[in-house]
């Protein structure tokens, strides 16, 4: 059993109020995420990433197909035993302090009482909220909410973490912190499913990635192979004077100009795919 999440032939239609048409948010999606990898789920806004995640968690039911997490059906609450989830734009009970919130979620995740206190303190400092732990969550900034949300996802020491845009609204230093936490989690042997649109970051932390466009899976594979040289390589040099250009051409004719293949970034691939879909 080395598959953490398996999504097979899943579609999701949302009813549009006041009309008979339905909005297909996810269209016949098949995806397998292996254990102990960091998997990036990418796609433009509204491409169905969050919907996919919610179906994997059993928060909404697929219209077709089924999802399994850690070998159990998503609709079985027991499957959520080993999962930590950070919702997109998380929002928590305002009247609790950060510490109380983590304690509350720890209890829900079944953390033994004797361990809970120490773990909460460690998590608060791991996400950089040690000074804010005794303040009410209602007064937290957006980035702080993301951080406490990440801590909340980790409190049950789950083997699978599902993070929906963990770095949205976090400052660059915080985003780098979160990236390093995710790398640590991978080194601990955990599986991470990560939704993001910060592509350069995904590129550095993910092992594999999938790009969704309009509910469909556009491409999936190891990050290295996705960013490998594309067939149509091109180069461009701006701002050359005519004189410089002539010399460059002569230089090239003499066969001294060497071409090296250009590795495309995920960002370019992303733009290509999303443009292709909208044409």
């Amino acid at each position: 059993m080395s598959v953490a999440i398996s999504i097979s032939g899943v579609s999701k239609d949302f009813r549009i109020p006041g009309s008979k048409r339905r909005l297909r948010a996810v269209d016949n999606l098949c995806l397998e995420i292996e254990k102990q990898t960091v998997f990036g789920l990418l796609g433009p806004n509204g491409s169905g990433k969050s919907t996919t995640i919610k179906m994997a968690l059993g928060l909404i039911r697929p219209s077709q197909g089924n999802c399994q997490i850690l070998g159990k059906s998503s609709l079985d609450p027991a499957a959520r035993m080993g999962i930590g989830y950070l919702p997109e734009a998380p929002y928590f009970q305002r009247f609790l302090t950060g510490r109380e919130l983590l304690t509350y979620f720890g209890k829900l995740s079944g953390v033994p009482k004797s361990e809970l206190g120490g773990r909460v303190v460690r998590l608060l400092s791991r996400v950089g909220l040690e000074d804010a732990g005794d303040r009410r969550v209602g007064g937290y900034s957006k980035g702080m909410l993301q951080r406490i949300g990440l801590a909340q996802a980790m409190v049950g020491n789950p083997e699978l973490l599902i993070l929906d845009e963990p770095t949205a609204g976090v400052d660059p230093i915080g985003a780098a912190d979160i990236a390093s936490i995710i790398r640590e989690l991978r080194d601990e042997g955990k599986t991470v499913l990560l939704c993001s649109h910060l592509l350069s970051q995904v590129e550095t932390i993910c092992d594999r990635a999938a790009i969704m466009v309009k509910g469909k899976l556009a491409i999936e594979g190891a990050v290295e192979s996705l960013t490998a040289a594309s067939e149509s390589s091109s180069a461009r040099i701006d701002g050359l004077t005519t004189d410089a250009r002539k010399r460059l051409e002569a230089f090239a004719k003499e066969g001294q100009l060497k071409m090296s293949t250009h590795r495309r970034s995920l960002e370019e691939l992303f733009l290509e795919l999303s443009k292709g879909a909208s044409d």
């Binding site: 968690l57 928060l59 039911r61 609450p77 959520r80 995740s109 079944g110």
Partner: protein, 255 residues
């Protein structure tokens, strides 16, 4: 919490205002007046509190998407439903308990002073008001409002706004309160279809009028324990039924 305090304050004011009528001095019927006032306030404000708090608590979690984080933990949806129910129910029980305490105090003080003024109204100086009965009555009210909480939870499981759940709560409260009229009408109506509809409504919705048993308590009438037992059982069964339906409905809900 603020709402809870406001409601308590309001109810106590209502109770206190019954003292304004003291000048009339009805003798022992004044005690009945205070008791009726207290009982009325208890069920009215208790029900209103139950409807508002239940809808807010349940749909608030969904509207603010805190339920999403919660249900992504290994928490069954039935546990969520039951937890919300118990939370509101305990709040209501505290509220009713506090009002009962105030009512008992008010009755006791008034009874003592009336007894001094008109000793002839009291057989061998015994007290008239059935204080034990009042406690049992209040317990029955807690169960009555429990049914209402379970019903509002049921509406909340498919409502998208707390306003809708509250309006539905008020509606069933009124229907439940007036249901005995429909039951009486059933005897008169000839049409079999109408009879069927009346019985269906009578079965699906609780008859809150059954719980209005406090009338004679201040006049020395005894509240039979077996009746209280029946009322508690009735409440428990209806609440369990609605909570089961609510769980089934919530299981299908998309968050």
């Amino acid at each position: 919490m603020r709402l809870f305090l406001a409601m308590t304050g309001l109810a106590i004011c209502a109770l206190a205002s019954s003292f304004l009528f003291r000048e009339f001095n009805f003798g022992s019927s004044e005690l009945k007046f205070i008791a009726d006032f207290g009982f009325g306030g208890m069920t009215l404000f208790g029900s209103a509190l139950a409807i508002i708090v239940t809808a807010q608590l349940f749909l608030g979690e969904i509207e603010h998407r805190t339920a999403m984080t919660l249900l992504a933990k290994p928490v069954f949806r039935s546990e969520f439903v039951l937890g919300k129910f118990l939370g509101v129910w305990v709040t209501v029980a505290c509220f009713i308990g506090m009002l009962t305490l105030c009512l008992v105090l008010a009755l006791w003080m008034r009874e003592s002073s009336i007894r001094l003024e008109y000793p002839e109204g009291f057989e061998q100086g015994q007290r008239l008001v059935q204080y034990g009965g009042i406690i049992w009555f209040s317990l029955a009210q807690v169960f009555r409002i429990g049914i209402l909480c379970a019903l509002v939870i049921l509406f909340s499981t498919y409502a998208t706004s707390s306003l809708f759940a509250m309006v539905m709560g008020v509606l069933v409260w009124i229907v439940g309160q007036l249901q005995h009229i429909a039951i009486e009408a059933r005897g008169v109506v000839d049409s079999l279809v109408l009879k069927g509809i009346y019985s269906a409504v009578g079965f699906a919705l609780p008859n809150f009028h059954l719980y209005d048993v406090g009338e004679g308590l201040a006049m020395g009438e005894v509240l039979p324990i077996s009746l209280v037992g029946k009322l508690l059982l009735y409440g428990a069964l209806y609440s369990a039924f609605y909570l089961a339906v609510a769980t089934a409905s919530f299981n299908r809900r998309e968050l």
